[in-house]
């Protein structure tokens, strides 16, 4: 029999018996960040493509979700900080090696941009709205003039944000489950699909919904491919990576991952999208909600399972 035990010390519940340093705020933050990135990705993309009119929900309405998502996400992140009074230290330096650092800056940019973008379209949802101060009107004017530039900024930062939500985890060499380069694209894809789902949910326009159902289907396919790719990578890897993958292949996270994330969050909505595209009438609510649900559970499962996975010695 092999026995390995900690004789003394380390009776620290946040680290033992397994790492438990990140709680619900982090996956929530990652999900909301990804969601906002997805929405803004589509908004800026379609604006740049000159499709503002055709896809008005995507470009003008859905982005209103983004600032809320980002602010709630940042609030969640803030809640999880243990030394809150020192929060500002994040913005005294930029450290490119630390995803947390450049991520914080990225979020600053994208959040600001999302507010501006929403402000530019505020009259779409509040027709009676009027800027109280003159300088605000001038600012609005300024950004309306440079809207294309703004769209490019948003597009780029949306992609960075989406990837960042994955890289934040994948940079942790110490947690084998996280430590895979697939995680960046995977989280980006998941964020984009959540963005698409939100647009489908909000859109009243059949054409727009159909296009986004198609896009969603494509992204879900990519996601599925990345997940398979990730597991193949793990299983071809070292002992610790194989053990990490086991968490989802028979281990304690198997059920929730395969049922909630893969089946309910990817497979089922993809199927419904296909049916919808084939002309069956599927209530728009269903696949959209499933994708969002799957997306959020995905973040939770990954953040928690990743903390269980570790090196052995």
């Amino acid at each position: 029999m092999n026995e390995e035990l900690i004789v003394s010390g380390r009776n620290n519940l946040l680290v033992d018996p397994q790492l438990h340093i990140w709680h619900w705020p982090i996956p929530l933050y990652l999900f909301l960040g990804g969601l906002a990135a997805g929405i803004l990705f589509f908004a800026s993309l379609f604006y740049i493509l000159g499709k503002e009119k055709e896809y008005a929900t995507a470009v003008r309405i859905a982005p209103f979700v983004a600032p809320f998502a980002l602010v709630i996400g940042l609030a969640a992140l803030f809640i999880d900080l243990r030394h809150k009074a020192f929060f500002w230290q994040l913005y005294t330096t930029i450290r490119f090696e630390s995803p947390m650092s450049w991520g914080a800056w990225t979020l600053l940019v994208i959040t600001t941009a999302s507010f501006i973008w929403s402000a530019l379209h505020i009259k779409d949802i509040l027709p009676a709205f009027n800027w109280k101060y003159k300088f605000l009107k001038e600012i609005e004017l300024f950004f309306n003039k440079h809207k294309l530039g703004l769209a490019w900024v948003i597009l780029i930062f949306a992609i960075i944000t989406g990837i960042y939500t994955g890289i934040l985890l994948s940079a942790f060499n110490a947690r084998p489950l996280w430590n895979t380069s697939v995680l960046g694209p995977l989280f980006l894809a998941s964020g984009i699909s959540a963005g698409a789902a939100t647009i489908i949910l909000m859109s009243r326009d059949v054409r727009e919904r159909t296009l986004f159902a198609k896009l969603d289907l494509m992204v879900l396919g990519i996601e599925m491919f990345l997940i398979v790719h990730m597991f193949m990578g793990f299983l071809a890897g070292t002992q610790v990576q194989i053990e990490a993958a086991q968490l989802f292949l028979g281990g304690e996270y198997t059920m929730v991952f395969w049922i909630f994330v893969v089946f309910i969050g990817i497979f089922l909505p993809a199927l419904l999208d296909i049916l919808e595209l084939r002309g069956y009438h599927i209530p728009a609510l269903v696949p959209g909600v499933l994708v969002l649900l799957g997306g959020i559970i995905f973040r939770f499962v990954f953040v928690f399972a990743g903390q269980v996975s570790r090196w052995l010695y």
Binding site: N11, D16, V308
Partner: protein, 745 residues
């Protein structure tokens, strides 16, 4: 996931860790560890002390910060006991001061014994009450009816008080529950005992043989340090232990002896050494008595014979005998310390002593050195009155070779027997937690229930204070002056203990209490000084130091006056035995009607479904006294039951599973104990660390943590030679769920 994960779960087991975390947080805020994390290497001031957490008595320094808060305790570099390094318990001594469960006011019982109902009292009231009760018992039954149990430095002052009153019923558990058989055997053999600290020259040895002694878990500091030196020096370590002890893990040879069969192994070694002429011929011829008798006595005790008993491979017995012989005389068959195991303990330790004698290690470098201490004069006082009724009168003619009173005899003598009344009527208990210390807790409690009166002097609310009529709160060793430590060692030395802080609450040092009682009992002449420090100064001036000097240096060491600590070649030596020689054949045992040479007698084995209960030490705790210490609790919050995987499988036990224990006399453990499945224990035994399973709820952390071995030890095998309580003849089985426990009880 892999093993580490699963096992961590066990050691950091949920609730315990939560409690530690939260409790710790509170303590943190209240000041065990000051809030600002600005660690300072050098503190505002340091005062000398010697540690009271076990009886190795390491000298050290108590460091306090600007606010007077005790921050850390470190060893005194000049000290031979510690060489400047305290053990974990000594380092964690700060937790003794800060324990929020501490006793800080005198308490007087308000209901019958056993019910935990006390009221706080003033010192005046408590002392007057004790004096009155003591007088009443002494007048009615004689001073011999007063018994003092003591363990610890301050016991000296109650001892003086008792002697002044005319009682010799003054016992410490460190004799009959601990090293009594060893001291008796070594006195019978060499005319001298190994002492405390022991005179084992481990640092220079070439071969160290440990019979059970689990150095490294038994954290007697100097020995641990010297064993490590011995490892560095490439010494051979041979460990005889049914359990794979920490020391076994460091040994070249581990002999996984079947429990209770050590004497057979020792006899086989003696056989090998005598019949192969491995012994130190010159030494034995010059100093030893009885070689021929011994030779014929051990003729039949061959390694093959021992194999059948001990399960140790005969070749291994031969090989290890050769190893010892090769190292002779720099070889130590360690005398051990807690040796009250199977009732034939004095004889087992005689075998140990004989082996050492044959290998010529007594008085030799790398064997046993001769101790030298500083004699401290005591302040002139009237003669102590003659003892009219002695503890020996309870069992006339028995235990004559015991050179200290036998604590369990005092317990027995407190219970009336058919045809005779109890001899002991009142107890003073200083610094010993008798219900967890003396085996058969029920028996001890029965004795207490028969007393007219019982006082406990303690620092903590322990089981014993729960049974007392009056509880006197002593301040911890960090807050008091105490006797000067003058234990003999390689060089004579003295160490001072002085207060690093004012006593907490109304707690007081033992000297003050004993003196106040003496004043009330008309014995003030024995307590001349109002303050202990005046007496210490007087003593120190007599040996050429002073209190002032000692406050600065803490430890003072002198060169030896008796010359080399080792015998010179061919030196004539008169040993303090009947024959003046080292007695391989013991005349004193023979005179008392015991076997002059040790023999093996078989001991009962566990019945089907039962396992022998063996116990020992964890390095981070001392008996039951440290279990509520926050710092040490943090290192180990409960004991576990070591179970061999084979047994675990048979019973379906898993790691961390709580089980109740039931012993051969159907005694059930009060609390469940968690299983640790480990190969480190045999399949016929289970193992646990002594000192857990506290029943006193006032112990905020320790209450109900783990199980008490003492409670399971109801079969006590008394050593006929010196009265020690053999405690390892008990067998336990598992009760795996609470319903079963209820049904069983």
């Amino acid at each position: 996931m892999a093993t580490r994960r699963q096992f961590i779960r066990i050691s950091a087991m949920g609730a315990g860790a939560v409690a530690a975390g939260l409790g710790g947080y509170k303590l943190f805020a209240s000041g065990v560890n000051g809030g600002e994390n600005a660690a300072k290497a050098v503190m505002a001031s340091r005062t000398p002390t010697y540690c009271e957490i076990c009886f190795w008595k390491c000298a050290g320094w108590v460091h306090t910060d600007e606010t007077g808060r005790i921050k850390k305790i470190t060893g005194n570099d000049e000290d031979q006991h510690s060489s400047g390094r305290l053990c974990p318990r000594g380092t964690g001594g700060v937790g003794m001061y800060y324990d929020e469960a501490r006793l800080t006011r005198p308490l007087i019982r308000t209901e019958e014994r056993g019910a935990q109902s006390f009221r706080e009292a003033t010192w005046e009231e408590a002392l007057d009450y004790i004096a009155e009760k003591t007088k009443a018992v002494a007048e009615k039954y004689g001073a011999g009816s007063l018994a003092l149990f003591n363990h610890g430095s301050g016991g000296k002052y109650f001892t003086d008080l008792f002697k002044a009153l005319g009682s010799d019923s003054i016992a410490a558990p460190s004799f009959a529950q601990c090293r009594g058989p060893r001291d008796t055997a070594f006195i019978a053999t060499f005319g001298e005992q190994p002492g405390s600290p022991e005179n084992t020259d481990i640092r220079d040895t070439r071969c160290l043989v440990l019979i059970g002694s689990h150095i490294g878990e038994n954290m007697h500091n100097g020995q641990v340090q010297e064993m490590s030196d011995a490892i560095d020096n490439g010494a051979t370590i041979i460990t005889v232990d049914p359990r794979f002890s920490t020391a076994a893990g460091k040994s070249k040879y581990w002999l996984p002896v079947k429990p209770a069969t050590d004497i057979a192994l020792l006899l086989a070694w003696i056989h090998e050494i005598v019949y192969n002429n491995y012994y130190d011929r010159q030494y034995v011829e010059k100093y030893c008595y009885g070689l021929e008798e011994l030779k014929s006595h051990v003729a039949g005790f061959t390694p093959e014979w021992a194999y059948g008993i001990t399960t140790i491979n005969p070749n291994l017995i031969r090989e290890t005998a050769r190893e010892m012989a090769n190292a002779s005389p720099s070889v130590i068959i360690h005398p051990g310390r807690h040796v009250t195991w199977y009732g034939d303990d004095t004889q087992r330790l005689r075998a140990v002593a004989i082996l050492n004698a044959l290998l010529g290690s007594w008085g030799r470098r790398g064997g046993f050195f001769s101790l030298e201490g500083k004699d401290l004069p005591s302040y002139p006082h009237p003669e102590f009155p003659k003892v009219t009724k002695s503890w020996r009168d309870w069992n006339p003619g028995k235990y004559n070779l015991a050179d200290s009173p036998v604590s369990n005899v005092l317990v027995d003598a407190s219970i009336p027997e058919p045809g005779r009344d109890a001899m002991i009527k009142a107890w003073f208990v200083y610094g010993t937690n008798l219900p967890l210390t003396i085996p058969d807790t029920e028996h001890t409690i029965k004795a207490i229930q028969n007393l007219d009166f019982i006082v406990a002097i303690d620092t903590m609310p322990m089981e014993i204070t729960g049974w007392a009529d009056v509880v006197l709160p002593e301040c911890t060793y960090l807050e008091r002056y105490d006797v000067l430590r003058a234990s003999p060692h390689r060089k004579p030395a003295i160490a001072l203990r002085m207060p690093a802080r004012e006593p907490l609450g109304e707690s007081k040092p033992a000297y003050w209490m004993a003196r106040e009682l003496a004043l009330r009992l008309g014995k003030q002449d024995y307590f001349h000084f109002e303050k202990l420090e005046e007496m210490l100064d007087w003593q120190l001036l007599k040996v050429g130091s002073s209190l002032e000097e000692m406050k600065k240096i803490g430890v003072k060491t002198w060169e030896r006056e008796t010359g080399s600590p080792y015998f010179a070649d061919g030196e004539d030596i008169e040993f303090n035995t009947n024959t003046g020689k080292i007695e391989l054949y013991s005349t004193s045992l023979e005179n008392e009607g015991f076997d002059p040479m040790p023999s093996y007698t078989p001991h009962p084995e566990p019945p089907e479904g039962y396992y022998r209960l063996i116990y020992g030490r964890a390095p981070m705790h001392t008996f039951s006294r440290t279990s509520n210490n926050a710092n040490l609790f943090d290192l180990m919050d409960e004991n576990t039951l070591w179970v061999n995987p084979r047994v675990a499988k048979e019973w379906g036990l898993s790691n961390g599973q709580p089980v109740y224990l039931k012993n051969q006399d159907d005694i059930l453990s009060d609390f469940p104990i968690k299983v640790r499945v480990t190969e480190r224990i045999r399949w016929d035994s289970v193992y646990m660390v002594h000192g857990f399973g506290h029943r006193d709820k006032k112990l905020t952390r320790a209450y109900g943590r783990g199980a008490s071995d003492t409670q399971m030890i109801t079969n006590v095998i008394v050593d006929p030679v010196m009265g020690g309580t053999g405690m390892r003849g008990n067998f336990v089985t598992f009760i795996t769920d609470i319903k079963d426990k209820e049904a069983a009880s």
